[in-house]
Subunit: 210 residues, 2 copies
């Protein structure tokens, strides 16, 4: 049986999420929300391609679906990477801590694992930002019968971004490398800037087109 979480059923994924296991958790949900947002952009595109009424935008929609599908696959891979990273943190905490040497080795391993568990949600946050950016052309140019799906895509991409942010914040608080923390903090601020507002704009645009 495959060890990949995305090869499990949706029900099994939810069971694992609800359990006390360290992963999957909020980080995996962030990636899956972004993947669902990307998939919905693809859906809007697939309902627009080949339709006479949308003849003028076929090239734009083809370019859009190429991007949304790449993002979807990237976010699915990041979901798996997130599970690996959190399992790494959990394993590092379980290392022996009897002797001074063991303690030092364990602390270094925890710090390294926490960094990896921060880099992955940062990649999730970046991918969710790019997915959110695709929702504007999807809502503007895509099949109007699927415009609500473009709106749901925006809600999911933004919720995925902010979920990833919470996972980054909680790890940064435990990381001692201040220059790493400063770099990650400003990177995240730049990603978050304007995104809740963009999501609201897309939502209003969608409601106006319904």
């Amino acid at each position: 049986m495959s060890e990949k979480l995305t090869d499990k059923t949706v029900t099994t994924f939810l069971d694992a999420l609800a359990s006390s296991a360290p992963a999957p958790g909020g980080g995996s949900v962030a990636a899956l929300a972004g993947a669902m947002g990307s998939a919905l952009v693809s859906m809007v595109c697939n309902l627009t391609l080949g339709k006479k009424r949308y003849a003028d935008v076929q090239d734009d929609i083809r370019a859009l679906v190429t991007q949304s599908e790449a993002l979807r696959h990237e976010l699915v891979n990041l979901l798996e990477a997130d599970v690996q990273a959190y399992t790494g943190v959990s394993n590092a905490y379980k290392m022996p801590k009897e002797t001074e040497e063991e303690k030092a080795t364990r602390t270094a391993a925890i710090q390294e694992a926490l960094k990896e568990a921060t880099v992955v949600p940062m990649q999730v946050a970046e991918a969710c930002c790019r997915a959110l950016d695709l929702c504007t052309p999807a809502a503007e140019k895509g099949n109007v019968y699927a415009v609500s799906d473009a709106g749901v895509a925006a809600l999911m991409a933004e919720a995925g971004l902010r979920s990833a942010a919470l996972n980054i914040y909680i790890n940064l608080n435990a990381i001692q490398d201040t220059s790493f923390c400063a770099e990650m903090g400003s990177k995240l601020d730049a990603l978050l800037a304007g995104k809740p507002e963009l999501k609201d704009e897309i939502y209003e645009m969608v409601v106006a087109k319904l």
Copy 2:
């Protein structure tokens, strides 16, 4: 092979979502977002139960996980119901429309199917509201090491609620029964009232606890 979408793998679910098939779409995503939010509340509870440090809140947490698990299963069932309802709408549109009688039968079937496809996301919206309400005690009383998961739960429950709302709006625009539309419209307004603000409150509470 099971016909239930939640018995498919996560990857297969995303493939189906990205396709041009009428369902799954934004409605299924709304239900799954709510189910993920509920599952994360359960995760926070399961990481709190049996922990000495949280001895004072064990009864509250036990009551909370009972509610979050019931909501999770309700939302998974609603995901399936949403797929059924949208397939019903799609099938109604495919009915013959040659004769006047066929046209009238088809129109009535479409209207009936659209109502069902509105009632289901309304149930999703209600369940997402209840899931969001559970995030406050989860963030306040749950294991602080999992507080980011309570925050992600709130982001998902609220995004699920608003996603369900978009699916309700798009259907109401096509439904001719004005009293049904008025009733559903005011029900939805009541559900949405204050919820984005509640989500932001929980998010801020979580960030403060990190």
